[in-house]
Amino acid sequence: MANKLDIQIRAERQYAVLETAGYLNDALGEKLSKKALELIEKGYTQLVINLDKTALINSIGISILIEIIEALEEREGTLNFCGLSATQERTFRMMAIAKYAGIFPDEKTAIANF
């Protein structure tokens, strides 16, 4: 598996999508957090994180995702996830992430459910 770390951003008027590629560990998580916080500072309160190209996430990466959820909550915003594998979704549900963020199968559905 290639582990090309990357984050693509697609910012629209109402929302922004952050798409990760590669292993979501502390390194990629920090990059993602920085980009997400920049968007939140710019006034974006509806974010989608698309994990379709991230095959593996570790618990440090997930802790950074929780920080993004919390940062959005402080602005009364919403974070929706999409592109999760079955294992990732199971882990997110176990960690109560599904209670405070949306989980959707694809980007289109995640955007439609703000």
Binding site: D26, L56, S59, S63, E67, A96, Y100
Partner: protein
């Protein structure tokens, strides 16, 4: 460290350095694939192995800064033994590598999930810990 392996074993020694947990997980992936595990099972194995390695990296305080992983290919499944020569588990040595803000929601805490994730993803998990180090033994069965 043992210097011999049997024909159904793979032995990997990794330094506690960035991305080494991923190397251990990718090795597990190829072995599990050769044993015809499903894609979902392979991902579960990889995540459990990553968390086991991170646990050792973060908490063991091992002087040699190494983790030894034994992959045992059994007829009924794949077994892993992840060992370090650190100080063993105790709440006192659970220092966090990454400082984070206090949790906003107690049920969605940010750290301390590693062992719960490992237990959730593997079929059996056994942890032996003492002053000479920690070994996590875990098994993924072929049929659940």
């Amino acid at each position: 460290m043992a210097t011999t392996i049997s024909n159904d074993q793979v032995l990997l020694t990794i330094p506690m350095r960035p991305d080494m947990e991923l190397a251990a997980a990718q090795l597990a992936s190829v072995i599990a694939e050769s044993m015809s595990f499903s894609e979902e099972q392979i991902e579960e194995i990889q995540v459990a192995l990553i968390e086991s390695c991170i646990n050792a990296f973060e908490h063991s305080q091992s002087p040699d800064r190494q983790v030894i992983i034994k992959y045992i290919m059994r007829t009924d499944g794949l077994e892993f033994e992840i060992s370090d020569q650190g100080v063993g588990f105790s709440p006192e040595n659970r220092t966090q590598r990454r400082a984070s803000k206090p949790d906003l929601h107690p049920d969605m805490r940010k750290r301390g999930w590693g062992l719960e994730i490992i237990h959730a993803l593997m079929d059996s998990v056994d942890i032996m810990s003492g002053e000479n180090g920690t070994t996590i033994s875990m098994v993924k069965s072929k049929t659940v």
